[in-house]
Each structure stands twice: as C-alpha cells, then as structure tokens.
Subunit: 452 residues, 2 copies
C-alpha cells in the first residue's frame, strides 16, 4: 500500500456537507444581545452577504461549491492523506495511523478552505472590502489571500501584542496586499474608546472583533468575515472530511476514531462532520475526538450555556460550551486554540454525546510534535500537534488493550511560523498552565442570564 | 486544460539523468590544491562515501534511484507543475507560463532532493554522522531532515551572522534533531584559529566550509555533505526536470525557454538538464536560462577559469565561472545566490553556449515576486523570484515581438522564512547593489595561476 493516498482534481468535492440537515435535535436559536430574542437574517445583512447568511441557516444536506471556488481550491486541493508508517514505527504501535495534511495551502493551514468562498460570495454580492480580526495571524493571512484572489480589499485588525510579537504573519498579509493595523487602532470608535482609557492596551481578540464588526457595519461596501465558529465556516471546511472519506476508501480502511484539535471548531468539523454523518445514520460508529489545550479547556471544563462570542459583549448570544466571555486563557503557543467558547454546532454535538473531548498540556503536545517531525518530516503547527498527541495516545492505549485501530487525524497546518515555540520547548523554557478551578468558576459566574 | 498538472506516485522517476554522458566536450579535471594535479577518487574518500564519488565521475546516462530514496521522495513528490493562468492574466501576456513548484517538500525547497539520497548513501556506507555548512539555512534544514529520516547525526556549521539573524532556520534544524553551531566555532581547529585572530568574526561560508570539511576529515564516522555545485548534487536534482518533461507532455506543450535562478547551479541543473539533453541531441531547441542577482553576477560578469571553491583556499581547484574566491557579494536577501563561483557543469555548458545567463537587481525581482504572490497565491523565496522575474520579462518581450512562447520556470522554494525581506521591500527599505567593475576586476586579479 502507498504511504500517500492522493485524489485526482476531478475528485475535489463538488458540494459541501451541511450537518444541519442531519442533527438529531434542532439547534438552539442565536439570540439578539439587546432583546434576547432570536436574530433574523436581516439583522446580519450589514455584516454578511445574503448567500452566506442563507448557508448559515440552510438545512439542505449538500450545498454546491461554486466553480470559481473549486478552481482556486484546485491550486492545492485535493490535499494528500498519509498512512503514517514512519510514525507508527517510531512509537511501535500495531494500529494504523492516517493523517490528512492541510498545510499545503498557500497560507499554510486549512483556513483558506473558507476564506476563498467567503471572498467569492462577497465579490458576487458587490462588496468591495472585507474587514476581519486576527489573533496569531493564521486566519488573517488566509483572508488576505482570499481577498487577493478575488480583487477585494482586506482590512485586518490584528491584536496589538501579536502584531508586535509575530511580525512575519503581519508581513505575509501585507505581501498579499492586505492593510493590517494593530488593534486597538485609531481607525474605529471602539478602538479610540479603548485607547482613550488605556493608550498602551495590548489588545485582545474581543476588542479586535469589535473593531472589525464596527468597520463592516458602518461601511456599505464592506463585509465582516469570521474564520471559525459560525455554521457556514464549518460547512466550507467539510471539503477536508469529504476528501478523506474517498481517501480512506482507497486505503481500504475506515477510521475507528477521527481526531482534530479544537479552538473555534472549524478544523474538527471539517474532518469530523462527514464521518459523523455515518454515526448519526447508524451505519458506522466512528469516535470523533476534539482535542483542546489544558489551559483553555472549553469542552472539558466549561459549561453548555448561552454566552457572548466576544469579551466586549457586542456579538449575538449563542448556546455553546464556554469558559465565560471574560475568561483569559494563559499565553500558550497554540494561539489558535485560545478561545473561551466554541462553535455552537460542535458544542451541541458534544453535549449530545456524538463528539468526545480531550485536553492536554502543551509540553506533552510538543514532545509528540517532535516525534512526528522526526519521523514524518513535516514540522506541525502547535495547534495541530494537539491532534498528533491524541493520536499517539489512542494508538498506545489500543496497544495496551491488545487492539489494532484505524486512527485518522487532521494535520491542519505547518509550524514554520511557530519555530520560536519549538525553540522554547527544546531549551526547556516551555511550561504548562492549568487554570485553577476557582478561576474558571469565577468566569462562569459572570455568564449572561439570558435564554435557555 | 487543468491549471495544475500532476503525476501519479508511480511516475516519480526511477533514475536520475546524468548529463556527463551527453556533454559535447569532456569536463575539465578537478585539481588538487597542493599539487595542481587532477584529484583521484581516493583523495575524496575521507569526505564522501564511494557511492557518491562514483556518481561524481560516472558517465552512465541514467543512474537508478534507490527504492528507499524513492519512498521518501514520495512523501511530497511528484511535485505539481502549474500553468500560471492567473499570472498570465495579471501581466496580460499571450504566452503560456508554466512553473514547477518544489516548495512542497518538508524543508520548503528543492534541497531535500539531494539531502535524502546523500543521507541514504552515507547510511549504507556505515557512516554515523554528517557535517555540513549552511549560510541562510536552506541547505542545513534539508540536510537535517535527510539525516533524521535515516537515523544519522547531523552537525551544521552555520555562518555566525546568519545564526543570529535567521534564528527560525536554526530552530528548524534543531527540531529535526541536528546540532547547530555558529561558525567560526570552538569545535574545530579552523574555527579556533579564526577566533584567536578575531573573537568577533561574523563568519563566512568559506570559514564554515573549512570547519565542516575538517570535522568530516578528522572523524572516521563522519562524512561531509554539500548542497550544490558538485556533479552528484546536480544529478539528484534532475528529478525535477524529469518530472517536468512528463508534465509538459501531459499539458501537450514543450518549453521554448526553461528558467531557474542560479547560485551554485543545482536547481537550474535540476529543471534544465533533462531539457538540455534534447538540445544537445538536436531534437529540440529549448533555451535554458540561468538567472543570477546583479550583485553577484558570476555567469554574466565573471571569468571561466580555475579557482578555489572557498575563501580560505582549502578546496580543490575547479574550472568554473568565478568572481574570484575572495569576492564578497553585497548582503542581498537572496542569500542562496551569494556564491562567488558556480557549478563546473553549469559553467562549462554556459561557456559552450548551451546555457544563457541573465542578471537582475533585487528590487525588480521583489516587484515580480509580489505580482506572482497576489495572482498565484504562493509567496516565493527571494532566490526563486529571480526566475519569476525572468519569466515575466520573457513573456513581455515575446508580446512585443508578436510571439507566443511556452515559458517554464522552477519555483524552487517558498518564502515563509524570508518575510523580513518582503517587509523591507514594502517599506521601501530595499536597495539595489551593483558592484563597480573595478571591485570585480580586483578580485579576478587574485585568481590562482594554476591549471588551464
């Protein structure tokens, strides 16, 4: 059997898979932060084009991928799936480990799977600009790339501390032609208000969201774009799992367990939802595992409740696993997993027992990342390394139980922008952060009282 | 027609193409630096395993690629070839532009095409360690990766100024398990001698070569490895062009011109030699173009003469285009192209009119790099961007002449480790360096008087 399982360009999916069509229970409504009543599509129109709002609520099982989007996908898709034989040998397991590699996209992660269609739909709707926020810069780079492909302007509000600490990501966005400002910025009222109170504010994802939303809401030619959490974002990511299904079939196998790291939830949904469909239908019984950092244990230690998406309490209220909208996770190196909440869809499926969650501290995650890099050759992103570590644990557990499992994980991106983290790990400077239960309880006490 | 032209794993070449079998004239002998007489294979045995020395002098046209090497190649090979339709549209040309993309390797460039077989042959010969030098770090990362795949130790002498300026590359090598020291180091006599005279020496490629050669020559378990220039290195890189021939055939086209950047010459040889074979045979007449930086114009302003490969005059004398072994090129951002000499094979073919050479200053190269990034999505390495710029110039010239050409270039690597250079360019801080003719003449006056 080949180590690398590839597909032809003609096998790039022609539709995305919409799990809303197969949910055992209807999703909890999204509530207006002011009225506490369910929001309507019209409420969202200042921020998103109608095509994306329709995808957000559609219950159609398969949604066509526009030809123009497929053509851009084809620049790097279908992505390879590997049988990790060298990793298996390195850890001495009898299980079969597979991984899907999304780091071959020009931005280096799975994020362009949604930034490309988001840019396309905005172009079709006649918008000229897209505003977004970015923390570590992974999403901002993907959005800058998408905007560049469709001739849109991109404005990225980058959390100020990251803007200064991760200049390479900022430079990549600018190379694609995006305009990047450190947030809080003087370009929005929200930013100016923060700066008036604290000129040295390091910024936060919550503040950057407020700035990007304000930018989009106050300019008719501009939309807002989000890189995870929302239903349409997760929808776009299902190309990953749809390809994987075909690749597992070519490998003559089916995964006993499907693993991905989970921050907002989009890469987990991307690889997991097309397999969850079998589980919901009862035709197969794969375990789907979300892996999060122990320092931001949303699914493992949070509660399933209505909460705000941002610290500043400006977004609609969504029902999700949350640590509280003002919970501040420790500054770990997997910046893409530092979110207090989670996608409502992933949260619901977790709550209903269809998805499992695991949490690991970062030092063991980096250990596994290096075992992977030295055996498979690819330097993984710290976020993706959570999935690697879980896969290794699953394989070792199976060995102990005398079982042979088929384990599939999503390698969502490469770690070329994260080498400082590896350096810290190799030099013994990396430490684990677990928040005391009391800190989590305090944040949860401040949850809004609204809704179910 | 598809934008991306891919091959199956079964189409990864089973042999490398050895242009020594087809040279119109025999190559000039390599001379011993002490005696001035041709060196023998035995002279090289302390540095290289016999299998690589045999490849260095073989005149067999096709040399089999070992299965173990092909299996590792298959982790990222065959690499895609693209029809650059978006770039063509962006510059408004009627010519057809194709590019082969080597940045999908785990180290991000074409360099693993030779580091993998070099590690393999050393493993087979029972060597335990490999010593090498690296400037910007591209080659060092590839060698560290190769060593990791075959369980060898790697020791990398990294030019001290780069060691401090480009920590990400150092960290990547260490993540693969290599030991990296700033050169001059205290680990060799050569290094200690330099440090005794100048404790603050910033190092140079010449010094780092001396250290790595000494390390290998003085330890029986250790070989030396080089990332370009030598015949066997160029041989390994021909997988690029051999794949490209098949891909051009699938595209139903044949290149009028084949372009690559040229430092030591390995990526030019890799894509160019398999097409040059047709030219030498007279069956086709492709132009093969080497593109170098105007600040290090070896092929365009150097002389074809015997010279040392290093500044310290320790290496054998080879006949090549050279700017003089003590020529110090300006500190441009395409670090991989800052070499005073050139591969003897590329030099000979250039001297005999089978290869053309062009030189461009870096600012126009970065302009073209951004046109490419915004249209094709991939952020190119500054080195590879020289080939992009030449392809754009060729296309525009063809348009002016009312011709439609098929232009193929090698995109030898991505630019994720070079974003500071893009930042300098975008901020207007990048300047061009052309050396006055007098500086080049002075360096050439110091060429050794030995040999033909």
């Amino acid at each position: 059997m080949e180590t690398k399982i590839v597909l032809k360009d003609s096998e790039i999916p022609k539709t995305w898979y919409n799990i809303l069509s197969d949910l055992p229970n209807p999703p909890a409504p999204v509530l207006h932060p002011g009225t506490g009543k369910p929001i309507t599509p019209d409420d969202l129109l200042p921020l998103f084009p109608m095509s994306l709002i329709e995808q957000e609520v559609s219950t159609q099982r398969f949604i066509p991928i526009p030809d123009e989007v497929r053509k851009v996908y084809a620049l790097w898709r279908p992505t390879p799936m590997y049988r990790a034989k060298r990793l298996e040998a390195a850890i001495g397991t009898r299980s079969r480990i597979y991984y899907k590699y999304e780091g071959t996209s020009p931005a280096g992660s799975h994020k362009p799977n949604t930034s490309i269609p988001q840019a396309y739909y905005n172009k079709m709707a006649g918008r000229k600009r897209i505003a977004t926020e970015t923390g570590a810069g992974q999403w901002g780079s993907a959005l800058a790339l998408g905007a560049s492909f469709f001739g849109l302007e991109a404005k990225v509000y980058m959390v100020k501390v990251s803007y200064h600490q991760k200049p390479y990501r900022r430079m990549l966005m600018e190379s694609y032609g995006a305009s990047v400002v450190p947030s809080p910025s003087g370009d929005t009222q929200s930013g100016r208000n923060i700066l008036a109170g604290d000129p040295d504010s390091p910024g936060s994802l919550g503040i950057a969201i407020s700035e990007a939303v304000e930018d989009a809401a106050t300019r008719e030619d501009t939309s807002y774009a989000l890189g995870s959490v929302l239903n349409h974002v997760l929808l776009h990511q299902t190309v990953i799992g749809l390809e994987c299904r075909k690749q597992m079939k070519k490998a003559g196998d089916y995964p006993d367990v499907v693993i991905a790291c989970c921050g907002g939830g989009s890469n987990l949904a991307g690889i997991g939802f097309p397999f969850l469909r079998d589980k919901i239908a009862g035709s197969k019984n794969p375990r789907v595992v979300a892996v999060e950092p122990a320092s931001c244990p949303t699914l493992t230690k949070g509660v399933y409740a209505y909460d705000f998406g941002d610290t500043a309490r400006l977004t609609p209220l969504v029902k999700m696993y949350t640590l509280g909208h003002d919970f501040v996770p420790a500054g770990i190196h997997a910046g893409g997993l530092r979110y207090h909440g989670d996608s409502p869809l992933v949260s619901q499926l977790c709550h209903e027992g269809l998805i499992e969650a695991q949490a690991y501290p970062q030092t063991v995650v980096f250990q596994s990342a290096l075992v992977f890099a030295k055996s498979e050759g690819i330097l993984p992103a710290p976020e993706s390394s959570h999935a690697i570590h879980s896969a290794i644990v699953e394989a070792k557990n199976a060995d102990e139980e005398g079982k042979e499992k088929a384990i599939l994980f999503n390698l969502s991106g490469h770690g070329f922008f994260d080498l400082a983290a590896y350096d810290d790990f190799l030099a013994g400077r990396l430490v684990d952060h677990e928040h005391p239960e009391s800190k989590i309880r305090e944040a949860l006490d401040r949850l809004p009282k609204t809704g179910g």
